[in-house]
């Protein structure tokens, strides 16, 4: 049971959503945008969050959009992860979206996963690698910006802004990729490590989550992986050394265990890309 009451808005378009946000904010209701609701309903039940208003974005056509425009594919933020998996239009994203369990994936949305409070946010990794653009809408207007400009460990957007769409260049979709997800027991569990690699324009890109407590694009490690002067056998250890963060330590796994898993994943990815050349 969710103990606290809130106002529920169901806008049909972005203008209404912004009006609802402005109205609720003006009334001191601390509004939140609601997509699949898997996190929000759980946190509300636990009392972790107490929003005064929820704005349901699932009926907004732009947020449910799955389309092609020019040389980009558009993913609406309210697409469920099962819809993304079934479309398979971006194979790395389809693979990275196979998280939690099948039934929850019928509700969990791309936008909710990327903008959520849980630290993993695994579906953002393919977008970081593809250097996607994000369409944001806020009370002050709309903007389309590179995801790398607004995602640093978490999505950093203005108050009231809504993640509407993610736009991925078709060129990124055709790149070879490697994906590794390590869990403690069942695959439904949160990850000890999720690492994604994308081969594009002759170089390897790498992004990960779980190992360091937040998702990020590992640019420092990429420089090592793409440095032809370094022997392939030395690259995994040097790539790890280049990453300026500390490994997570929790009940799921120690930092040294995560280090081992990540080093092994990098080695496997290099093998795969080498075989594919």
């Amino acid at each position: 049971m969710i103990p606290n009451n809130f106002t529920y808005y169901r806008p049909e378009n972005l203008a209404e959503a912004m009006e609802a946000y402005t109205m609720a904010e003006k009334n001191g209701l601390r509004p939140l945008y609601l997509a699949g609701g898997t996190e929000i309903t759980t946190f509300c039940r636990q009392g972790t969050i107490k929003p005064g208003a929820l704005i349901d974005i699932k009926r907004i056509s732009e947020c449910r959009c799955f389309d092609e425009e020019g040389d980009e594919i558009i993913f609406g933020s309210a697409l469920t992860l099962n819809e993304v998996v079934e479309s398979n239009s971006y194979p790395l994203l389809a693979r990275a979206s196979r998280i939690v369990d099948h039934t929850v994936r019928n509700r969990l949305t791309l936008g909710g996963n990327i903008a959520g409070r849980l630290p993993y946010r695994e579906t953002v990794l393919p977008f970081l690698l593809a250097e996607a653009r994000v369409h944001l809408s806020g009370p002050d207007g709309e903007r389309v910006v590179p995801i790398l400009d607004v995602f640093s460990k978490r999505l950093k957007i203005e108050p009231g802004e809504l993640l509407v769409q993610l736009l991925v260049s078709k060129a990124a979709l055709s790149g070879s990729w490697y994906y590794r997800r390590e869990v403690r027991k069942t695959r439904v569990d949160y990850p000890l490590l999720t690492a994604c690699f994308l081969g594009i324009n002759g170089s390897i890109r790498m992004a990960m989550t779980g190992a360091y407590g937040f998702p990020f694009r590992a640019r420092e490690a990429e420089e090592v992986l793409n440095d032809s002067t370094i022997a392939p056998a030395e690259k995994p250890a040097l790539a790890l050394a280049a990453i300026p963060y500390s490994f997570s330590e929790d009940m799921r796994g120690s930092g040294s265990y995560r280090r081992m898993l990540l080093e092994r994943s990098i080695a496997q990815a290099l093998e795969k890309f080498k075989a594919g050349e």
């Binding site: 009451n5 169901r10 806008p11 039934t103």
Partner: protein, 225 residues
């Protein structure tokens, strides 16, 4: 009467809906000439979503649903329209069990982990503890009560795909949706779908046998189920 959309004005119908009414329409509503629900003696009007949308289109204005406090909504459950009074914060599971008497969906973890509360929303299995009842407005909701006497349910009985039985409704609903989507599923597909549900008695072998038995029956009889 819907042609007269001059002098639009907003009204709160007392149930939390914000509606946009012309003076003409409001007059007709007050005089009960049109088929909108009106509570006698009170200035309370309950406009069903389909009507509200039509009104919005007619007015060429937007109409956003806004619910606060207790609201009256219609849910389509097992093929029937049911009117319920809910708080926006009520989960679908609570409303099914406590307001509509459909106690087949079980409140297990209420955290989206166990799957005992699984129902179908437009044919897709979802965990009703993680959905607000107001979100399910306009969707076709199917609970375990709506799929009684099906091949899948009989297979669970025949193969003893249960132990204490608490998780069984969730498993049957999920298996029902699985066999609709994949009439001849391979082991990996069955595993992927059923990892959404937990059986604390660990009676997984019986459950898997029941699903295999249902697949066999469906193959031999080929009903649309």
């Amino acid at each position: 009467m819907l042609k007269h959309w001059r002098n639009l004005r907003r009204e709160n119908d007392g149930f939390g809906h914000i509606v946009v009414l012309s003076k003409e329409l409001w007059k007709n509503v007050r005089q009960r000439r049109i088929s909108l629900r009106l509570k006698t003696g009170k200035r309370q009007l309950n406009i069903q979503p389909a009507v509200a949308k039509a009104m919005a289109r007619q007015s060429k204005k937007y109409l956003m649903i806004k619910y606060h406090n207790t609201v009256s909504i219609f849910l389509r459950v097992n093929g029937e329209n049911r009117e319920v009074q809910v708080r926006p914060a009520d989960t679908l599971l609570q409303v099914l069990r406590n307001h509509l008497g459909l106690t087949g969906a079980k409140a297990g973890c209420e955290n989206g982990d166990c799957g005992a509360c699984t129902v179908l929303l437009d044919g897709r299995p979802v965990k009703s503890c993680m959905i607000l009842a107001v979100e399910a407005e306009g969707a076709e909701i199917t609970t375990i009560e709506g799929i009684s006497n099906t091949v899948v349910q009989r297979a669970f009985l025949d193969e003893a795909g249960y132990q204490c039985g608490f998780c069984t409704p969730g498993f049957i609903v999920n298996a029902f949706a699985l066999l609709r989507a994949h009439p001849d599923p391979d082991k990996e597909t069955i595993r992927m779908w059923l990892e959404s549900n937990l059986c604390r008695c660990t009676g997984y072998e019986g459950i898997e046998n029941a699903i295999q038995a249902a697949v066999k029956v469906l193959k031999s009889t080929n009903p649309k189920e």
